[in-house]
Symmetry: C2
Subunit: 354 residues, 2 copies
């Protein structure tokens, strides 16, 4: 970790407990039995504690889809060929991908960042940030995904996006990703961060069969051996550099930068959570800014969330990534804000209490 | 059940299996691993099967909040006084209630219907349908909530709202309710419909303590004895008339009418599900049109859902009612439609398959 990253991390403070209590008082004054809106109330209180003032807002929200390739795909860990990463970047930009359709539906901005896709530069597009650090991460089963300088650059790239988002008035960022092979990288990160076994954390990803999952678990085991020093260090940055990937490091940087800027961080599924977990290891207080969107159908995600004591909002059997679950969570957060800001109190409405 | 209701029920057909299969084919052609959007894909397929054509849509959607009082409140089953039902009707209309704020946030129409509130007529309001059948349901712990003619009128009222909604271009209705004491009525309905024990189905409602819950369970037991013939009949209409309430019967009629008109039926929480369960007992095929929004924090709701093999979308610890959970489910359904209608296929996007 370099000084620039360290400075960002130092800006992240703990959530304001007294603001949480203030929010609870406000919520209990509204025309409903106390606590009867469940997680929506928790969400409203968290958002108030992050933003420190009323009205609270999830908008404007920005979904960042970070894309990057993975050398480990050469080992056959995904049923889809590597070129799909590039093809999907084009699909995000032309609006045909799931996350594109979902963002459009609810008026959320989408930004794609090429952090490390193979195959050279893309054509220019206003929604694409071209910031390729390398033509894909190196094969983690044989050595580190990135060197430390590359990883620091990727973190700074993400953190810089958060700074610019904040300057532009954005209140929330969502972590989305695309990268053929990146469930393998995410699984390796979980094992190293939380001491989990590859066999309990590896799943079918985009659609491996049982044999494919077993192969993936073996390769994650090889990756942990090839990067044994980093894995044993317990250090978020070292683990990220060794077992992550460019898109994952960008999202970790985005999460840290967002927390430093008092933005909400919507964490999507299996891979986005792995990126967040690296940020969390670097600075546990970042969790106060995080809203965990959903539990992925990818087995192992629930275990990783549990290791951070993170309770996602949704459990819809989704396992696409891209930030699709995060968009749904943004919709829930909007309603949490609407309740907090716009409901009448018992006194205002002349409704009798208990 | 009278002939008018019987005619509505006869119009409800089973979901079109071949349309479900068609929808699956379309979903599998879109740029994502098959099935990777989980429940959103199931939802899209169900909506396509209900609507029979593309593009599919949840909108325009109408949340109906049916309000009614319950004589059983005299037995001390709610910590809130009965006048809160009326006060909340005013709050729905002036926009201060949770469901009002949530509908406004996402552009969903809200309609309130006075099916049986105590305290006389309300002032006129464009969003209020005044159709009071009685000044509250009778005390179910002493006899039937309604007579059969009153229950049939309430069903017809709800079914008529569905007819008018359909004629006005609405594609979805949501079942919302307000009625102090109505968790007691809903609990009694569940016991009668599904042979459950009052002690396993009664919960704190708006905020009873342990003693209050025990009292409520005893009173539900008394209601089942006082209406033993209806409870033993297994007949959805008889059970509804004996143990329901006006707002619950209106919602049961709305569910049947909506299904008869090929509208989606968003089923909210503990009480709305009890209303739907009566409709389901009358015509099990109505379930094909139903989208179960969430599992209530009210203990017993999960058991009742299980009895219908119904799998709600959300589990957010909510227990307010009013249709609040249903509004969130409408938001999910909109995204299911967006995916189905607007995503690119692998071919269109030039993305490689497996």
């Amino acid at each position: 970790m370099n000084d620039a990253i360290r400075k960002i991390v130092e800006r992240i403070g703990p959530l304001d407990r007294s603001a949480l209590a203030e929010a609870r008082d406000r919520l209990d004054s509204l025309t409903k039995p106390p606590g009867s809106l469940g997680r929506l109330e928790d969400l409203a209180a968290q958002i108030y504690a992050v933003q420190g003032k009323s009205p609270i807002a999830a908008d404007p929200a920005l979904v960042v889809v970070a894309a990057g390739d993975h050398g480990v795909t050469a080992r056959g860990v995904s049923p889809f060929p590597q070129e799909v990463t590039r093809q999907m970047v084009a699909n995000f930009l032309s609006g045909g991908a799931a996350v594109s359709a979902m963002c459009r539906e609810v008026g959320v901005d989408l930004m794609v960042v090429d952090a490390g896709c193979a195959g050279g530069e893309f054509a220019e597009h206003e929604k694409l940030l071209q910031a390729k650090i390398a033509e894909g991460a190196a094969d983690i089963s044989r050595g580190p995904a990135m060197n430390r300088e590359q990883c620091a650059r990727a973190l700074a790239l993400g953190a810089g996006m958060a700074d610019r988002a904040q300057a532009g008035g954005v209140r929330s960022v969502a972590l989305g990703e695309m990268g053929i092979g990146n469930t393998t990288s995410a699984a390796a990160l979980y094992c190293a961060l939380f001491g989990l076994d590859p066999r309990e954390i590896c799943g079918p990803g985009t659609g491996l069969d049982r044999e494919g999952v077993a192969l993936k678990a073996r390769i994650v085991g090889e990756a942990l051996e090839a990067n044994a020093g980093a894995a044993a260090s317990g250090d978020g940055f070292e683990i990220l550099a060794s077992l992550g990937g460019y898109e994952i490091a960008v999202l970790a940087g985005l999460a840290l930068g967002a927390a430093a800027n008092d933005l909400l961080v919507f964490v999507d599924g299996y891979i986005a959570t792995a990126a967040f977990a690296c940020a969390w290891r670097v600075k546990p207080e970042a969790k106060g800014y995080a809203i965990f969107a959903h539990t992925s159908a990818e087995p192992g995600h629930a275990k990783a969330l549990e290791a951070m004591n993170a309770k996602p909002l949704l459990d819809l059997g989704m396992r696409l990534g891209e930030g699709t679950g995060a968009v749904l969570a943004i919709q829930l957060a909007r309603q949490a804000c609407a309740i907090f800001n716009n409901m009448a109190t018992f006194e205002q409405a002349g409704v009798s209490g208990k």
